[in-house]
Amino acid sequence: MSEELKVPTMAQYMAEGKQPEVLFWVGCAGSFDDRAKKITKAFVKILNKIGVDFAVLGTEESCTGDPAKRAGNEFLFQMQAMTNIEVLNSYEVKKIVTACPHCFNTIKNEYPSLGGEYKIVHHTQFLKGLMDEGRLKIEGGKFKGKRITYHDPCYLGRGNGEYEAPRELLKKLDVELVEMKSCKQKGLCCGAGGAQMFKDAEKGDKEVNVHRTEEAIETKPDAIAAGCPFCNTMMTDGVKTKEKENDIEVLDVVEMIANAEDL
């Protein structure tokens, strides 16, 4: 665990006149949120271990504009988008991987018409690709036989139709994958999307994240797997609200792979 992470920046690559295989778009949560930073690091550990040639934008990265757009602030969104596109295009970026479904969706679907066309994949799709190529070997490790339920992030699942890549990775871990009563196309939101993460909820009789966590708890899981830093926060809070934090872990799929490898 003490190994140092190798995190080259695009600027460094540029200075050496090289192009990385892929740009890792870290995202705001992955950069600043303490919980999400662990996901970022787990992903980088795997990339380091199997020797994927990647780089980050570092201080040149900025919010994709997703929360601004979904809050209704199209100006701020497009300002962010165009600034990012300028940076990405100046580095001639072609391929991007990100651990945040919101960044993924925004760059994949909303950047092209603003001049930013890249091949972007979610980290679970990227890892699945590495697995299929034989570069990434996944074995059960500490999660073997554990009951795991996977929470579909809206912007990966319904938003972009990716339900299988994360599940296939989990199956490779030899876990007992159990589905919640609403999953895949009918997956229930964690409550963070649409900029809800950054505001209090409207008046109601329950918080959305608690509602979703209850669905997860019904499956009696050892851990809840997520593929989004915001879902992760919401589900972690939900598990705490239900006082189950000692029984149920909330982990990103990539953290489970890294843990299984004991990275």
Binding site: E4, L5, T9, V26, C28, G30, S31, F32, K37, T40, K41, V56, G58, T59, E61, C63, P67, A68, R70, A71, G72, N73, E74, F75, L76, Q78, M79, T83, E86, N105, K108, N109, E110, L114, C154, Y155, R158, G159, N160, G161, S182, K186, G187, L188, C189, G191, G193, G194, M197, F198, K199, D200, A201, E202, K203, G204, D205, V208, H211, R212
Partner: protein
Amino acid sequence: MQFIPQILFLLALGFGLVFFARNVQRMRRNIKLGRDLDRSDQKDKRLSKMLRVAMGQSKMVTKPIAGTLHVIVYVGFVIINIEVLEIIIDGLFGTHRVFSFIGPAYGFLIGSFEILALLVAVSVILFWIRRNIIKIKRFILTEMKGWPKNDANYILYIELVLMILFLTMNGADLHLQQVGAAGYAHEAGVVGAFPISQYIAPFFEGMAEASVIVIERAAWWMHILGILFFLNYLYYSKHLHILLAFPNVYFSNLKPQGEFRNLEAVTDEVKMMMDPDADPFAEPEAGDEEEMPEKFGASDVQDLSWFQLLSSYTCTECGRCTAECPANQTGKLLSPRKIMMSTRDRLEEVGEGLNKDKNFKPEDDGKQLLDDYITREELWACTTCNACVEACPVGIDPLSIIMDMRQYLVMEESAAPSELNGAMTNIENNGAPWPYNQQDRLGWAEEA
């Protein structure tokens, strides 16, 4: 004298169709109040989606019970309409079962209509039980009080009565054919097959032939008048989906659900702001002013696209969207179904204004969709999760209306909730929704 029924029939049919055409015309006019939206692309894909989702009912059957019952009523409705064609011809020309010349196939047709009619009647009764006895939650939510609840039941009553009349008519007709009544008997013997109404026919035994003819005629007339009434009831009810589901699915969004439309007017402005060579005082090019929308986002129906307005007429208030909505499930005010119902209610109100005065403008009555129909609390409760869009069996996108209205709130009124304003200020200043310094963005790499 003998032509009087035919003349009356022609009048009823003409009146029914003209009145319906007038309402279709009004609906078209109202839908065209919406903003332009190009959905003329990918015709093959649109057609196949329409065949699959609207004709094939692919999303209905995700709920197996409601889906199966609905498929029965849908197939029944479509198939039995072949019989309506014969009824219209008989009505106009005073013939009796004019299609019977096709021979044994006619028996098969009438027989299948009868079986379908019975299945439809049973399904309709089960639908009624689901709404009124079992009280399935999505049918009894707040927006379903009053007219929407009654409307749904009226539709079921009309359909049930139509099926009963159809079978009664056939039963009486069978009896009259069997006794060889004038105008009913055919040389070839009994025409048509009556697998269901053969059990009704015995009730007429022993009755005077004239009485049975009265019953048969009454059922025949009430059945066809009922259909004409139902056709015209559609516009005033939630039941337009039987017609509009097809265009609505055809014109529905084909892009990934996660993709929200980029406003071109904003792109132009942002490009100018970011272009160091741009001259902010430059005269706009000729024609440019027209392209600038009067306002960003939507506060009233004319700010929405024609497709969104079409969808408001298409919505049949099934509530599958609302049942899947995380905000609604957790007791928030938001209901995607109500967003569609409110849009239609306001559009109808504007339409009424136009009926009275064709120069009427939506702003003339001092009301608008925002606040008067849809509250800010509803709009801000949405997590943009697309569950409502996924759930809709006919391709309606309530989320797009919520987003357009949020854009109005933020860009025209600067009326975002204060925490969101904080997050947006952070994005503007630090490039992240939280107040962290952009220079620390790589801090995590050193923490390992």
